[in-house]
């Protein structure tokens, strides 16, 4: 009798009973594969890796408990209903029974995912932890053009795109208002943001605001994921908005659609709103205060709605005063940690103006998140370009038409670099028309990586200078900070001191090292001829000897290691070696570039 033979009537045990292949699972659930896929995506069920793959290596295995979990979900029944309903509609249509079809169309079975979200993320923190993919995807779909079209036979419905856009704006509004943004990075793929919400670091990617390429992929999968993510993000937004005492959804107004459609429409809507509340756009602070009062009272429904609407607008349209007030009012001030405060005050008392060609949405999100005031070229902007109080104008054009001497003209990268460095960097490298210094990723631990780019070092020096020299001058205020000459001078001084110190240290170390070397050499010289009849010359041998010794030591410990550990060690060494090679390559390239520069 073969070993694997199981007598009839005897149940399967072990892996054979615990794990089923996908086709078995589909059969078990009596659904079609697309429905199964949808269920898995929505329920968050994924294949598992059994220790022993009973059916072979090329199958994907699901745990039987997972399948049972799917089977007991009401959603399964709902999806079956939908399938039956679709058949009915199709039948009615093909029989030209228009009445029946229309009647059926009004009674489409629907399902909600609330329960699933609660089930998958029992605590709010769980949801935040898994929010990365959700945000990236929602932002990607928000960047798709809101045009009805068929891609690969699958439509991306316009309302989904609108919804994504709305959700992403809501999320950004919250992050910006509560100053939770920590890091930003302009990559080729898009702009990365990292925020810290309730101690969770959430990173997401927004594509560049350009026409996206739509390849031929299965959009049903994407849309199923999006369906879940939309709901999840809405609930997360709800929770976050309520945590700062703002009602959600922000605006129960049909004009919301126009708002979600475009930031421009959003600003216009804000204008209209401001007018209806009989406030001029110039009287910003008064609006803010009134809003605060409204919030405190929260009595009249109309007022509250209006306020909510305004709240929504405030973020993208950047009403600085109101924003500040609101945040202060949200009683979160004492809870703020040091980092938040630091972030809040980075662009404090700075006024930005965005030219037409810079990525407006991103900067409108970032600058207020770090406490700055921002306006842009176009309708509905809070202040005009000619405003004398503007300190920085963000420009990305080779030639600028008119220049105001009171303000600095910077490239957008300056904003991102400032945010990452958490200091106001000198602007002369970011002048209009010149190539800005390299933009570095804030997500890389340079020390661990082994190679520190030149500009990272420069920023570090600036930061050190900031800490030593600039911080003890709080009374000086904004003028000092913004005066580039002054700042530069300070930085230079600090840098000089730092450099001098370093030099001293270096020389000390060098001296010590030389002495040690000498000692070593002498020792070797004395010992070698005394033991050696031949009298080998010590100079030739000592240098490789040291290396040899280290190698031998490593070798010898390897000799007694069990094979398993030795292989592991070897694998680790390979990884290390690869990393080292990478760093070495970088350094070599750097050297070559420097040489080329020198010779040029």
């Amino acid at each position: 009798m073969p070993k694997h033979y199981r007598p009839p009537g005897k149940k399967k045990e072990g892996n054979a009973a615990k794990y089923v292949t996908r086709s078995q699972a589909v059969k078990n659930l009596q659904v079609s594969l697309p429905v199964f896929r949808k269920l898995c995506i929505l329920k968050g069920v994924f294949p598992r890796e059994p220790k022993k793959k009973v059916k072979g290596n090329h199958h994907s295995y699901y745990h039987m408990k997972d399948i049972m979990f799917l089977r007991h979900d009401p959603l399964l029944e709902k999806l079956r209903d939908i399938r039956a309903y679709e058949k009915k509609v199709k039948k009615a249509m093909s029989k030209k029974n228009r009445d029946l079809a229309e009647r059926l169309l009004t009674r489409k079975p629907t399902y909600t995912l609330d329960r699933l979200i609660k089930e998958r993320y029992p605590k709010f923190i769980d949801a935040l932890r898994d929010l990365d993919d959700c945000l990236s995807m929602v932002h990607l779909f928000a960047a798709l053009p809101a045009v009805d079209r068929a891609v690969d036979g699958e439509k991306i419905p316009v309302d989904r795109v609108h919804n994504c856009r709305r959700l992403s704006h809501e999320w950004q509004a919250y992050i910006s208002r509560t100053h939770k943004l920590r890091k930003t990075f302009i990559s080729v793929k898009g702009i990365y943001y990292q925020a810290e919400v309730e101690g969770q670091k959430i990173t997401w990617l927004t594509p560049h605001a350009l026409q996206q390429v739509l390849p031929e992929v299965d959009y049903r999968v994407l849309l199923t994921f999006l369906e879940f993510y939309e709901t999840l993000l809405a609930f997360v937004n709800f929770k976050l908005y309520h945590s700062i005492n703002v009602k959600y959804p922000p605006i129960l107004d049909p004009r919301l659609e126009a708002l979600a459609a475009d930031l421009y429409a959003l600003s216009r809507y804000f204008d209209a709103n401001a007018q209806s509340s009989s406030m001029k756009t110039k009287a910003i602070t008064s609006t803010g205060s009134e809003q605060v009062e409204d919030q405190k009272e929260g009595a009249e429904l109309d007022e509250a709605e209006l306020r909510l609407a305004q709240l929504q607008q405030q973020l993208p349209s950047n009403e600085p005063g109101a924003l500040m007030h609101l945040v202060e009012d949200a009683a979160s001030e004492d809870e703020e940690d040091v980092e938040t405060r630091e972030c809040k005050n980075l662009f404090k008392n700075m006024k930005f103006f965005l030219s037409r060609e810079v990525p407006r949405e991103s900067l409108l999100f970032i600058i207020p998140a770090f406490g700055g005031i921002v306006s842009w070229e176009g309708e509905g902007a809070p202040f005009e370009e000619s405003d004398q109080s503007i300190t920085h104008q963000v420009v990305d054009r080779p030639a600028q038409g008119r220049k105001f001497l009171t303000r600095e003209y910077v490239q957008p990268q300056w904003v991102y670099d400032c945010v990452n460095a958490r200091i106001i960097l000198p602007t002369e490298k970011y002048m209009v028309g010149c190539i800005p210094p390299p933009h570095l990723s804030p997500f890389v631990d340079n020390e661990a990586e082994g190679h520190i780019p030149e500009y990272a070092e420069a920023i570090e020096r600036l930061k050190a200078a900031e800490r030593k020299e600039v911080l003890p001058l709080p009374g000086m205020g904004k003028e000092d900070l913004d005066d580039p000459q002054n700042l530069l001078g300070i930085i230079d001084r600090a840098e000089a001191i730092e450099a001098a110190k370093r030099k001293q240290k270096m020389s000390m170390l060098e001296k010590q090292y030389h002495e040690e070397l000498k000692l070593e050499l002498q020792g070797a010289e004395y010992s070698a001829p005394s033991t050696d009849i031949e009298g080998r010359d010590a100079e030739g041998d000592t240098a490789p000897d040291l290396q040899q010794l280290a190698e031998d030591a490593a070798n010898m410990s390897k000799v007694v290691m069990p094979r398993k550990k030795r292989k592991l060690l070897e694998a680790m060494e390979i990884g290390k070696e690869r990393k080292r090679a990478h760093v070495l390559r970088l350094k070599e390239r750097k050297k070559k570039i420097d040489e080329a520069k020198k010779s040029a």
């Binding site: 896929r37 069920v45 994924f46 890796e49 745990h63 997972d66 979990f69 609330d114 609660k118 029992p122 949801a127 932890r129 990365d132 993919d133 990236s136 995807m137 080729v188 793929k189 990365y192 990173t203 594509p207 560049h208 390429v213 739509l214 390849p215 992929v217 999968v221 809405a234 609930f235 709800f238 929770k239 990525p359 990305d396 054009r397 490239q411 800005p436 390299p438 933009h439 570095l440 990723s441 997500f443 033991t531 009849i533 031949e534 040899q548 031998d552 070798n555 010898m556 000799v559 007694v560 290691m561 094979r563 030795r566 592991l568 060690l569 680790m572 970088l586 390239r589 750097k590 570039i593």
Partner: protein, 760 residues
């Protein structure tokens, strides 16, 4: 109508047309399907009904056809056939060869038989007939042949009934219709090849004649085959004209009065309405289109229900990798690969190739859209729902922690560390060395055929013997009072007097070595077959002549016995010689495989033989195999026994050193993979807890190998030192290593013809 003139040409005799027609009709009805153009024939038969349309076709066509056929009729074979046919018919006619009038009457009779429709046709025919009285019987029917009675009257019977008969049937008058003479196949084939109209001809088996289709008929057939109406000018979609017109008619079709129910309201409808009214009043039916909208979102996480995840343990998906410096739109210049590097990516494997090539954009506005954005999102989604997730323990450990905690080497001193002396003098690779038991001398043998004795402390060469053959092994007698040396070279083993001992010793030795030759000659009868004991005058000692090359010589601890090894000696490969008696004997066990090395147990009468695969341990007293030590290595090269006797080390040709604890197991207690090349020799120190291995990679390893007397404690093995210094020659490195018997010193013999002494 077309073919008719031709037939006339062919026969040139008037005929009874009526009879012909009938025969033809019969023929046509039973057209057999053995022809290639079977459908055409059928179609022709069917189309005969429609022939009236054709009959109207112009005279020109007919003429042209007749011309065509004229050429055919000229062919001799057909002519003959036709003429015969005519004769028959004529005979049947029975002397009624008159003109058209007769024909007419016949026709009318034919009509009366049943097909009265197509009188026109007959008229046409008649007219033709009339025009050409001299015309022969028409063979080919025109389209109206259906109406003509067939010539053959046998009816619908199988034709094979007439197969052997001379006739094919009977005409109307009951006379036999004779079969035509058959053409030979060759002739008919040639005729068909010559005849360009052949494709139109059909053989009618029923009437035993060939029928040729006219152009019109073929056209008809073509149209029929296409499924169209046979005639081109027939319109199947002509507007339908209703014959019945109601307009203006006085009377209705039905005269029944309108029923009452048409005038009174329906009871059931009113009931239904009532029911609806009640339902509306009760509020069962609502008319507001929009259902009440509840707030779509709510505080999902605020309720105090216990938050526990159901189902299996959740394994969160790993987060996407965060971007590095190289992904920046404006990366540092050192992150941008040069053009050569980018080109070199093409040579790499697809998987190894970098997915992303950094590129510098001089300003933010020049950054294009990332074309793989959707694709990458999709891939991520696939990973999320399709990838099996496993919780893997990430090994985030310091590689140093993997290394075993070994006692510090400093605590294990003394051990040989540095090269102290070199013994120079050999001209070839030094294959073997041996230390004298007092530690004052060492002996070495080389490939240049010399055996040398050196003073250890000075490096002075005391004595040189030139044996003349490659020295395989030298071995000092372990007894201090007998400083004699056993040397294996070629097929001989020499026992040499070194002259290192004192005077008394020297005498004893001489005695020992002197006496033996005689003894050997005495015993030569016994052991002649194996080994010859001969007095060696040249070197001053004994020469044991073996029959195969001797590779190993090993002294027993008591100094009287001596084992020699001949790997190719098969059953007599291991021999034990007794010096005092001058005896030689085989070991009393079977050996399996080719022995590589032998060793005596240091204290007990136990003997070790190492074959390429394993080490066998024999008890010499009980004369049986005690143990088999399986090293599990490719090829054992050397073996050494711990002075305690319970442990052994085995060196192999794949560079592994196995430590056997023979009390513990027959498998190695520890395998040390130290050398990348063959291990050539292993050695234990006699008193210090040291052992060493040397290898062809020009290194020798020194280990600390402490064996505890406590049985519960395993031996402690610590690698101490790698000794280098020898250089490689001919691919060989260090060929032998031996410890000094007293000091922790190691001698190594190198292929570079040097002997080195490493001291602590």
């Amino acid at each position: 109508m077309g073919p008719r003139p031709r037939k006339e040409n062919g026969s040139g005799k008037p005929k009874n047309e009526k009879a012909e027609k009938k025969v033809q009709k019969l023929k046509e009805k039973n057209v057999e399907e053995n022809l290639k153009r079977i459908e055409e024939a059928e179609a022709a038969a069917e189309s005969s009904e429609d022939s009236p349309f054709l009959s109207d076709s112009g005279e020109d066509d007919d003429e042209s056809l007749s011309e065509d056929n004229g050429s055919i009729s000229e062919s001799g074979s057909e002519q003959s056939k036709l003429s015969e046919d005519e004769d028959v018919v004529r005979a049947g006619d029975g002397g009624n060869p008159t003109g058209a009038s007769d024909d007419d009457t016949d026709h009318s009779s034919g009509d009366s038989l049943g097909e009265g429709d197509d009188n026109d046709d007959y008229h046409g025919e008649d007219s033709h007939g009339g025009s050409d009285d001299s015309r022969e019987v028409v063979e080919e029917s025109d389209s109206s042949e259906d109406e003509v009675a067939p010539r053959n009257t046998i009816g619908n019977v199988p034709l094979e009934w007439y197969k052997d008969e001379e006739h094919i049937g009977y005409d109307l008058s009951g006379k036999k219709i004779k079969k035509k003479e058959r053409q030979s196949k060759l002739d008919s084939f040639l005729a068909s090849v010559d005849d360009s109209k052949n494709w139109r001809k059909i053989y009618d088996e029923y009437n035993d004649e060939e029928v040729e289709l006219t152009k019109e008929e073929t056209k008809l057939i073509r149209r029929l085959l296409k499924g169209k109406a046979p005639h081109a000018d027939f319109d199947p979609y002509a507007p339908y004209v209703d014959w019945f017109a109601w307009d203006g008619a006085k009377h209705p079709l039905s005269n029944a009065p309108e029923p009452k129910r048409r005038f009174i309201p329906s009871k059931w409808e009113s009931k239904m309405v009532l029911r609806y009214v009640r339902a509306i009043r009760k509020g069962l039916i609502k008319f507001d289109d929009k259902p009440k909208e509840e707030p779509r979102f709510y505080a999902l996480w605020d309720d105090s229900t216990p938050a526990e995840r159901q189902g299996l343990a959740y394994i969160p998906a790993p987060k996407p990798k965060l971007p590095g410096h190289e992904e920046s739109y404006n990366p540092s210049p050192e992150y941008i690969p040069t053009q050569e590097e980018i080109n070199s990516y093409q040579l790499m494997f697809e998987e190894d190739r970098p997915k992303f090539i950094p590129k510098q954009h001089t300003s933010l506005r020049s950054v294009p859209a990332y074309e793989k954005a959707v694709r990458e999102t999709f891939d991520r989604c696939l990973d999320l729902y399709l990838c099996p997730r496993v919780r893997k323990k990430r090994i985030n450990i310091d590689p140093e922690s993997l290394k075993p905690k070994l006692p510090s080497r400093k605590d294990l001193k003394p051990y040989p560390t540095t090269c102290y002396l070199e013994y120079k003098g050999h001209k070839g690779p030094v294959t073997t060395i041996c230390t004298e038991s007092t530690g004052q001398w060492i002996a070495s043998g080389s490939k240049d055929g010399t055996v040398r004795i050196w003073e250890v402390e000075t490096g002075r060469c005391l004595q040189v013997w030139d044996i003349g053959e490659t020295i395989e092994e030298v071995a000092w007698n372990p007894l201090t009072e007998f400083p004699i040396l056993a040397v294996a070279a070629g097929q001989d083993v020499f026992i040499l007097d070194t002259g290192c001992g004192s005077h008394e010793q020297q005498k004893k030795i001489e005695e020992l070595l002197h006496v033996e030759p005689q003894k050997a000659t005495d015993d030569s009868d016994i052991s002649a077959s194996i080994v010859n004991w001969v007095r060696d005058d040249r070197h001053g000692g004994i020469r044991l002549k073996h029959f195969k090359t001797v590779t190993k010589v090993e002294w027993h601890r008591k100094g009287d016995y001596l084992s020699t090894l001949m790997p190719s000696g098969e059953s007599q490969s291991v021999l034990i010689h007794q010096l005092s008696k001058g005896l030689t004997q085989r070991i009393p066990f079977k050996t399996k495989g080719i022995p590589v090395s032998t060793a005596f147990h240091p204290t007990r009468s136990i003997f070790f033989t190492a074959t390429k695969k394993d080490v066998r341990v024999y008890d010499l007293l009980k004369q049986k195999l005690i143990k088999k030590l399986e090293a599990g290595v490719r090829e054992i090269s050397s073996v050494a026994i711990h002075p305690g006797g319970d442990n052994a080390i085995v060196g192999s040709k794949d560079g592994k050193l196995c430590w056997f604890d023979m009390d513990l197991s027959s498998r190695p207690y520890r395998v040390l993979r130290c050398h990348p090349k063959d291990i050539t020799g292993v050695a234990y120190h006699r008193s210090y807890p040291l052992f060493a291995s040397c290898s062809d990679d020009c290194t020798a390893y020194v280990f600390h190998g402490m064996v505890y007397s406590d049985m519960n404690q395993n031996p402690l093995i610590v690698p101490l030192e790698i000794l280098r210094g020898h250089s490689s020659a001919d691919g060989r490195g260090v060929l032998d290593c031996k410890f000094h018997p007293r000091q922790p010193w190691l001698f190594t013999a190198g292929a570079d013809s040097l002997i080195k002494l490493y001291c602590h």
